[in-house]
Subunit: 217 residues, 2 copies
DNA sequence: ATGTGTGAATTACTTCACAGCG
DNA sequence: CGCTGTGAAGTAATTCACACAT
């Protein structure tokens, strides 16, 4: 995480894509202008939060009016580096990997899966939409030749760390990890974890309390 | 979110499942005892953070020694309400829903998918491991009869809100939402979002900066 | 020695509240 | 007026640092 004195807080960076998506939906609906209040209600965030977040990057609104949807969306896209598409490799062609490869929602949001890789010979060659599963051994060459900086990891937990090490070694700087394990990466590499079980458990915590309260209270 | 004066912060609750999983791995490896330092290194959290988090719930360690892995794991499981399995319904049997239904990692962590539902008649009856896709119309009865409190939503964005409304109406109190939209729920219902595109975008932000710096610096 | 548990200090994040612009 | 942009105020989360137990 960048710790420079005037760096933008990571929480803010993580909210920007949510703003962007909500604005994209608004644009599709034909909405021209939106206030921080309205946008906030859509995504469960306070109006002040949105205004403060945006103020890190500039002034995008008009007083008394609100934000022009297309204009603000364009700005946030640029801030997020989404002017052009990002090529991404996907490692792991199990049930989950295949579902990810077939998901239609990446392309339109600037994420372009350009290769799917697996170590299992029985999976090599499988067709997944326009992609075909390639052997893991071809992965380094593709990353280097196409200067790929982002990867999605969808392999079993016990393989995740070595897969990540290999990716980083070949120049990948951002990893979306679906494996249920916290992977270690060197300075300068970003990781985000997708962890459905942990999220469910963080809800069972509250539900279990409630049940308890119902019985005791 | 519970706002009682002595409520446990949600950030803490969200970390507990990560601690639990790391402890489970340690137990599998045959490790008996672990210090906050060691555990922290495994999951990228400071030792002080772990000790502080645990201190909300009691005293589980031994000074000079650390934590007994099995003992602490048992406690965290109980705190999270994982003494017994939680039945969960899954709505949506597209590529993603089917991958979720087939994922082996839920059962062993107390999450038991007991039904898969879809509105699309061509999907009804599909076999997914031991499960069979059922029509959405059967969903309310199952939730009510089996007192199901948790659901996983894997439907297209434009259907997510109405699916969630239906779930909540029938008594679901916790929702894991894979649809790329922030859904609204009434007080007392929990939602967690899984949003791969947003996570990737939060990384492109940093990668784009770096690139820029490399060009200008 | 080693490593927990925890008040105190620090840092980070959010909300307030209002000047000022359209 | 209505709504932004933003310092200031207020909360929340993290880290420090050390007494104390083994």
């Amino acid at each position: 995480m960048d710790v420079s004195p005037n760096a933008i807080p990571d929480v803010v960076v993580r909210r920007l894509p949510i703003y962007a998506r909500s604005l994209a939906y608004l644009a599709e609906e034909g909405v021209r202008s939106v206030s921080s209040q309205e946008l906030g209600e859509r995504i469960g965030v306070t109006a002040a939060q949105i205004r403060k977040d945006l103020s890190y990057f500039g002034e995008f609104g008009k007083q008394g009016i609100g934000y022009n949807v297309e204009y603000l969306l364009g700005h946030i896209r640029r801030i997020l580096g989404l002017n052009e598409a990002w090529p991404v490799v996907l490692v792991g062609a199990g049930h989950l990997g295949r579902a990810i490869a077939r998901y239609e929602g990446f392309r339109s949001r600037g994420i372009d899966i350009v290769g799917v890789f697996d170590a299992d010979p029985t999976k090599i060659g499988m067709e997944l939409g326009k992609l075909r599963v390639q052997p893991n051994t071809d992965l380094p060459a593709m990353i280097r030749q196409q200067h790929i900086r982002l990867a999605i990891v969808a392999v079993p937990a016990h393989l995740a760390q070595e897969v990540v090490d290999g990716l980083v070694e070949n120049g990948v700087q951002g990893i979306l990890n679906y494996a249920p394990v916290v992977v270690q990466v060197p300075e300068g590499v970003w990781v985000r974890h997708i962890d459905p079980v942990a999220l469910l458990h963080s809800m069972t915590y509250y539900l279990a309390r409630e049940e308890e309260r119902a019985h005791t209270g």
